[in-house]
Symmetry: C2
Subunit: 270 residues, 2 copies
Amino acid sequence: MTRAELSAQILQKQSYLCVGLDADIDRLPRHLLDKEDPVFEFNKAIIDATKDLCVAYKPNLAFYEALGSKGWESLRKTLEYIPDEHFTIADAKRGDIGNTSRLYAQAFFGEMGFDAVTVAPYMGVDSVKPFLEFEGKWVILLALTSNKGSQDFQFDQQENGQPLYEKVMRKAQEWGTPGNLMYVVGATHPEKFKEIREIAPDHFLLVPGVGAQGGDLEALTRHGANADVGLLVNSSRGIIFAGEGEDFAEKARSAAQALQTSMAALLQNL
Amino acid sequence: MTRAELSAQILQKQSYLCVGLDADIDRLPRHLLDKEDPVFEFNKAIIDATKDLCVAYKPNLAFYEALGSKGWESLRKTLEYIPDEHFTIADAKRGDIGNTSRLYAQAFFGEMGFDAVTVAPYMGVDSVKPFLEFEGKWVILLALTSNKGSQDFQFDQQENGQPLYEKVMRKAQEWGTPGNLMYVVGATHPEKFKEIREIAPDHFLLVPGVGAQGGDLEALTRHGANADVGLLVNSSRGIIFAGEGEDFAEKARSAAQALQTSMAALLQNL
């Protein structure tokens, strides 16, 4: 998917919501567990309930790998089921030597047909570039993550005073463009979005870590949005596990609707 | 597997060789391609041909993921086939937020029964610790990798003058011990092994990037070995693709034998 197509979808739906399809088998509604493929049935219902409210879906691959070959089959069917208009992100956080990254890229972009893959930066250029060589596909590079451990290395000052995440963002701009490279920037660092927009004014940011709270969303949108919106805000558990019973899909829709309504209002004021 | 069991195996076999089971489907001998599961048949033959010469096997998961659910089935069968005495490493380079890392740990250690997983450090403490909570299991943390891109971030000087890989190694010693934490240190940085042994005198190092050349192996063993040997030297393509025809397993054995012979000689001189 091109940047223009993604931006058009955002404006049309008045939404920059990404729904995280983290279909943890231990948290699925019980009535699905006797279906042949509970994970796929769950994802299908979530997609039906949210597709007009979001622009992207992001399965975290751990939840599928944990189920072995059966999980990969659920993932494949889920990908097939997601409407073409949606941007699809393999949250894989891969990164390996060149030949191996090329193989991961082939698997996620070629066979599975994802639009984007999250990639870890530690191994540098040859771990990232193979993902950038696929026309119309995207790398979403970990920059400043939403978790507690983001404090351990990502803020470390380099010799020139830059924190590591800034070095990562700047270095990656030698490899990719705003047309094929995004960054992960966690919503748990709202105070950083202004500075991050100075480092990367044009790139899209994938923002995990937003709850149902409007506060964070407002702050990160105010400081993080650019002329093309430039944000994909992800919510996983807050949407897909909003309910636990037979009405889980309705509950998921309500949670997604609340976020989309906030987003529409924020977009009016950009 | 405990550290003592691994060390005993190394001394008994006079080998610290790890064979990388990177069964790239595009490079398998042609006569295997009409078997029902060519990847498993290939691994089976390689394991039979090398098991007395090596102490560990390390499948890189990319080669299995690239084949989707079929690949996971080949991997599962391969793991089952590897003799219990061998140390098994899932070369996965995973690292995600706490809950997700826990799920990966459950998948690799629990369901698949690997002894160790390679983990990427960028996301910090909560991405690594869940892997350390499994009794008798190991994290092998990326420190100084063997690829070109290792130059991009890993050598960056931090404020105190430490390169990033040193910071990663020291920080991780707050999380794990020489009994459940190893480091990846590439053979392409032989001049660094002496310094790395000052940072981590007791930890095992997993060393990728050794070819059939004795030179590198000698230098890294001289500077990198500790009282328990403390090295697992990996060779993947140099062994498993030493031959391309029907005699591929014999060729693989010869390549493994050459490395083991060098290792035995080096062990005598420690």
